[in-house]
């Protein structure tokens, strides 16, 4: 017993002595990166590759959980322990940039030969912009569109090559496709009381000329009325109010919903699970020729203002950006750039779907950007739920939301 304890102590002493010897040489700059990417996702792999290049910059990676990103970052920043680089969800970006917590990268980007703003989709780019300056670089992006079950379209006498283009067509198709006897709803989406609800509703409001700063406009009221019709006529499951996008699209995959509104993150699971022919269409618009819009998701890179090595940190970001063409091939994520073509996957359903999503991305709009986005989002969620449960009319609910949002916007 005594011996083994001494042996342990000895091992400890040895280890602590030899650790510095193994770590990077003295002149190396260490850059710390936080993101939520797991081992099969971009950040840790890109960092490994970067470290192999021996550029004199050593990157350390730490994975944080989705729910902790903002609170962890806040805590770290306010106690002076912030990393050099972080990946944040795009609606949270403005919270940091408006308070000067993120570094203004505008000058470095204008001098960079790798990061070029004109290469990015407008939505993601807007989410890193605050007051006309760039406080980050879009990491990846996603959006939502309409999935539809072609077999069910055929069975109900609808043309599978002509998915609904307008809201009215969508409701009509949903009425035709809904079949309570067979446990089939016409449509599935998410009106959950969290960010997902806002994510799904805001595009509808924007297509009709509304937006978070005009949430009680006539178009937004009409959008919510359509949602209410879908729920009231049981064209979508009442559980739409408490179900997230992943679960609701699950019912589409199992053949219990004929159409689904969701994003490209569903593709892999759908290809495995869905035993029918399906397709993807752009989100229906209020009427033919109306402005298109869609939601925009995913994370942005940013450099904390407290970094001691802004130049090196930017170099690391430039490396990440230079690898954007691997984003889809290696990690299944869509780069936020319009100049990168998505290579064919050899899976015809998936390739067709990706084409639609890339088209849809052109119209994707960020949520905000606004530093108090969570409060704005909460007001919208409350309005959606109040209207859909019949406690208020769409107009009353959205008026209430507009009131709350006005208080936030000041």
């Amino acid at each position: 017993m005594g011996i083994s304890r001494y042996a342990m102590l000895g091992a400890f002493a040895l280890a602590s002595l030899s650790l510095p010897a193994f770590s990077a040489s003295a002149e190396d700059v260490t850059i710390s990166v936080w993101s939520l990417d797991r081992d099969i996702q971009p950040a840790p792999n890109l960092i490994n590759d970067f470290n192999k290049l021996n550029t004199g910059i050593k990157v350390e990676y730490r994975q944080i959980q989705f729910d902790d990103v903002v609170s962890e970052a806040m805590r770290a920043y306010s106690t002076g322990q912030a990393p050099d680089i972080i990946a944040v969800d795009n609606p949270e970006h403005a919270l940091f940039s408006s308070r000067g917590a993120f570094l203004d990268l505008t000058d470095m980007i204008s001098k960079s030969s790798v990061v070029k703003p004109e290469n990015y989709f407008p939505g993601p780019l807007a989410s890193v912009t605050w007051d006309g300056k760039f406080y980050g670089i879009p990491k990846a992006t996603n959006t939502i569109a309409l999935y539809y079950n072609k077999d069910m379209f055929k069975a109900k006498g609808l043309d599978p090559s002509k998915p609904p283009q307008t809201w009215d067509e969508l409701v009509k198709a949903a009425r035709k496709l809904t079949d309570p006897a067979a446990n089939v709803y016409g449509l599935t989406f998410s009106a959950k009381a969290n960010e997902e609800g806002t994510f799904q509703f805001l595009p509808w409001a924007q297509m009709a000329g509304g937006g978070y700063d005009a949430i009680n406009s006539d178009g937004a009221v009409k959008a919510l009325d359509i949602w209410k019709t879908l729920i009231d006529e049981k064209l979508a499951s009442p559980d739409t109010l408490t179900r997230g996008q992943w679960d609701s699209t699950g019912t589409f995959n199992s053949g219990n919903a004929a159409m689904a509104i969701s994003g490209p993150w569903e593709l892999d699971r759908m290809i495995q699970e869905a035993k029918f022919d399906w397709g993807v269409a752009l989100l229906p618009v209020p009427e033919v020729g109306a402005e298109r819009s869609s939601a925009m998701g995913d994370f942005n890179w940013a450099v904390f203002a407290s970094t001691e090595h802004p130049v090196e940190a930017f170099k690391v970001l430039e490396y990440f950006v230079s690898q954007d063409n691997r984003m889809f091939k290696d990690f299944g994520q869509l780069p936020a750039r319009s100049d990168i073509a998505i290579p064919p996957t050899g899976e015809p359903l998936k390739d067709a779907a990706l084409k639609v999503f890339l088209e849809q991305l052109k119209y994707a709009k960020p949520r905000g950007p606004h530093p108090e986005w969570p409060k704005i989002s909460k007001a919208i969620q409350d309005a959606i739920q109040a209207a859909l449960t019949g406690q208020l009319s769409s107009k009353e609910a959205l008026d209430q939301a507009a009131e709350k949002i006005k208080a936030v916007l000041g």
Binding site: D67, V70, S71, M74, R75, Y77, S78, T79, L95, R99, A101, N183, K192, A193, N194, S237, P238, D239, T240, L241, T242, T251, N256, P374, K375, K378, D382, Q385, A386, L388, T389, Q391
Partner: protein, 300 residues
């Protein structure tokens, strides 16, 4: 000095030391955060001032703001309903089961042990399972009710404002019943058997024995269990997160979930702290009941 030392090693100083140590521990681990929380409820807090103590004081502003929000009253009412219905359900079913197993038929103690499985399960797991059971379109509960003819159409437990709070209450009763049962079983086994024998000789029937012996003898256990129940149900968070997320439209929202939502979803830490302070008042009340009802247990 020597007397002091000897009193520490063997005497009243030692006793005081024994008390001080846990007290210091309690103060650091529970007292300070509690005070910090109360202070925070009178301050203006945002994410960037989280790390410092010197934040602007705003008096009662957080409290006034909170009570002028339209959702505050329904949420407080929901909390009251949730707590009282959960405790009532857990206690009545738990007491019934405890009495049942007290009969001591073959395998009784074994079965009683099995009931504890529900108490051991993490709340999020229980929540996820109840989430499926309560699902509107394909839920097991709806299936059972439909097959037995109790309902004709599906009830959307999670999404119908009339049922959403009850959906969580049902799950919470299931979760807490076994804990009530075990504590009550312990209380029951502490009642001397000769009391019952004497009562039986005097001709008391089962109901009279229950009413005049079991209940009075169990008073302190019951007081303790209801106080603990109040604390546990006010802590219940996982089930809300897993089943309804407080929706739809706050109809199943309760203070504990709301406090989290405000603090960590909307980053309004001051309001989150304010709600916690209101909850502390209720928990204090429960603690007093708990301490009073278990006080006589300290013997010698």
């Amino acid at each position: 000095m020597k007397r002091f030392l000897s009193s520490v090693t063997d005497g009243s100083g030692f006793d005081i030391g024994l008390v001080l140590l846990p007290l210091a521990f309690l103060f650091v681990m529970s007292g300070l955060p509690l005070v910090y929380n109360v202070v925070m409820s009178f301050q203006e807090v945002d994410m960037f001032s989280l790390g410092s103590f010197a934040r602007p004081f705003v008096g009662l502003k957080n409290y006034i703001d909170l009570f002028s929000q339209p959702e505050t009253r329904p949420i407080l009412l929901n909390t009251a309903i949730f707590v009282s219905a959960s405790i009532a359900g857990q206690f009545l079913i738990g007491f019934g089961l405890a009495l049942f197993f007290w009969v001591n038929f073959p395998g009784a103690s074994w079965l009683r042990g099995l009931f504890l499985v529900s108490w051991v399960m993490p709340g999020l797991v229980v929540g996820a399972i109840w989430n499926w059971i309560l699902s509107g379109d394909f839920g097991v509960l709806n299936f059972l009710l439909r097959e037995t003819g109790a309902i004709s159409g599906n009830i959307f437990w999670r999404s119908d404002p009339n049922y959403s709070l009850w959906a969580v209450i049902i799950a919470n009763i299931w979760l807490g019943t076994s804990f009530n049962m075990i504590l009550l079983s312990v209380g029951l086994s502490g009642i001397p058997k000769d009391l019952y024998e004497a009562a039986e000789l005097d001709g008391a029937n089962a109901f009279q024995r229950f009413w005049t012996i079991t209940l009075p003898m169990m008073r302190s256990t019951i007081g303790a269990i209801i106080a603990l129940g109040l604390i546990f149900t006010l802590q219940q968070f996982d089930l809300f997160a897993a089943i309804t997320s407080g929706g739809p439209n706050n109809t199943s929202n309760v203070t504990q979930y709301w406090a989290w939502d405000l603090s960590f979803r909307q980053y309004d830490f001051a309001k989150g702290a304010t709600i916690s302070v209101i909850m502390i008042v209720f928990v204090m009340f429960a603690s007093v009941v708990y301490v009073r009802s278990t006080r006589h247990e300290v013997r010698g």
